[in-house]
């Protein structure tokens, strides 16, 4: 019996076996597939190559059908978001038969990393001041402004995405990047703290990983999107959980006209989530 996962050497997709200026770097190995950091066309253009390898246990006909469908669906959703002004990685190239998708590389760190580091520093400074350090973040303290501003930007990004008829399907703070503000890009008027903090939570929200996303304008689907994020947020950043309902909901309302109906649905989804029971 092997308890530990042996480090695996995965075969590269054929496209990555051809010469390039840098060796492709395996970034993540998820259930969906593998993400490589590589280059597109020129050494100066970094790119994220998402590869869905064949699943040998699946019937080959079914496997090809699913891989093709999912690659195309993800590409379509990203292209649509990009056209409509939702900040997502651009699609460079698609080979649905070979099972890969080449996307714009998004600089910066996931929101999860920024928030956890921010919470850690906050705890350390609380402790240094002789307090417990595990107090929940309410958003009212002056030092909370950066996190509140970040939550507002997240809510804005989600509102914009929902407005254009896309649901993400897997919202977590790992699936949002904080991309350094680019030159020549306007920063949002609100949702931007004004830099009194240490810059940890600065940056533009870029939504990534649309592998489970779809086109939908159903308020139920949108509410489930928010619910998934709420659960993920609570388990990843328990001390900042309270901010979710307060800040995120109000900023989502500002970003999206349909928000009141979605948030009402969210209330139902929450109730169902707690009560969900199955027959034996």
């Amino acid at each position: 019996m092997t308890d530990d996962t042996e480090p695996q050497q995965f075969p590269l997709p054929a496209i990555l076996t051809y010469p390039s200026s840098k060796t492709p770097e395996l970034i993540t190995q998820g259930a969906e597939g593998r993400l490589y950091k590589t280059t597109y066309l020129l050494p100066s253009v970094p790119c994220a190559l998402k590869y869905r390898p064949p699943k040998p246990w699946r019937h080959p006909v079914l496997d090809a059908r699913l891989t093709r469908h999912r690659i195309l669906s993800e590409a379509r959703v990203l292209v649509k978001c990009r056209r409509e002004g939702v900040a997502v990685p651009a699609v460079y190239a698609v080979d649905e038969a070979a099972g890969w998708l080449a996307l714009e590389w998004v600089a910066g760190a996931p929101v999860r990393v920024g928030v956890n580091e921010w919470l850690r520093r906050r705890r350390d400074s609380e402790r240094a001041a002789g307090r417990g350090g595990d107090a929940v973040v309410t958003g009212d303290a002056p030092g909370d402004a950066d996190l509140v501003a970040l939550m507002r930007r997240i809510a804005g990004a989600l509102g914009r995405m929902h407005k254009v008829g896309i649901v993400h399907g897997d919202l977590t703070t790992s699936n949002m990047m904080l991309r350094p503000w680019g030159e020549g890009r306007e920063r949002p008027a609100n949702g931007h703290a004004g830099g009194q903090g240490d810059g940890l939570l600065e940056g533009e929200i870029v939504l990534i990983d649309f592998g489970l996303a779809g086109q939908s304008t159903s308020d139920e689907d949108r509410a489930v999107d928010l619910y998934v994020l709420e659960r993920a947020f609570a388990s990843t950043h328990p001390r900042a959980e309270a901010l979710f309902s307060t800040v995120l909901e109000s900023a989502y309302r500002e970003a999206f006209k349909q928000a009141p109906i979605v948030l009402k649905k969210l209330e139902e989804v929450r109730m169902r989530g707690r009560k969900r029971s199955m027959l034996g």
Partner: protein
């Protein structure tokens, strides 16, 4: 995307694309104010084997990356044995299109008898009897126009934006139009063009 300017501009630039096998070499040239578009177009229609090039009408192009992207996709398709057109060069022209309609792609992105500025691409696949020098000489002898480098500055001077907006369905992108920084705006347009090409109406 700003590549260092090649000076002095060569007739023919050889480009090493990432993730393309050694067997494939890519050669590109740009000609401004061509005078024999009709002749070149005729060679294509007559399937003259000596003129196996991708002749792209530069008015339908926004950037260098867009051209390279079409070339890369065609090589990928050729390697997969999944070409939808007669050869890799016609494949490059049709790869520029965001739809599956091949004859429409030739009309919109390929050379026409009235084309003014063109981009020429030649992919040599080894073993090939031809060299880059042969290709360059053939172009010098047969294309009547002013050689220019394949860079964004040159290409942007040729772009017909009304065509681009129509072909890539970019008329409803008010948020891009509202961008103030010209560089950011054209980069964003380029990304939308690449996205459209990548989906080919799928």
């Amino acid at each position: 995307m700003k590549e260092p300017e090649k000076a002095p501009p060569a007739w023919l630039e050889t480009i090493r694309l990432e993730h393309v096998p050694e067997t494939h070499s890519v050669h590109v040239a740009v000609f401004k104010d061509i005078e024999n578009a009709e002749f070149l177009h005729q060679q294509l229609l007559g399937r003259n084997a000596d003129f196996e090039y991708a002749f792209i009408d530069a008015s339908s192009v926004v950037s260098r990356l867009q051209v390279l992207s079409a070339i890369f996709k065609s090589i990928t398709v050729q390697l997969n044995g999944a070409m939808k057109t007669p050869n890799i060069h016609s494949e490059i022209v049709s790869s520029l299109s965001p739809t599956k309609n091949i004859s429409e792609a030739y009309r919109r992105y390929g050379i026409t008898p009235t084309s003014k500025n063109i981009i020429v691409v030649r992919v040599l696949i080894s073993p090939s009897t031809l060299t880059a020098e042969d290709v360059e000489k053939h172009l010098v002898d047969n294309v009547q126009g002013v050689s220019r480098p394949l860079d964004d500055k040159t290409l942007s001077g040729f772009t017909d934006w009304s065509k681009i907006r129509k072909y890539y369905k970019l008329n409803g992108v008010g948020w891009v139009d509202a961008l103030k920084d010209v560089g950011v705006k054209s980069k964003e347009m380029e990304m939308l063009v690449l996205g459209g090409m990548s989906l080919r109406g799928l």
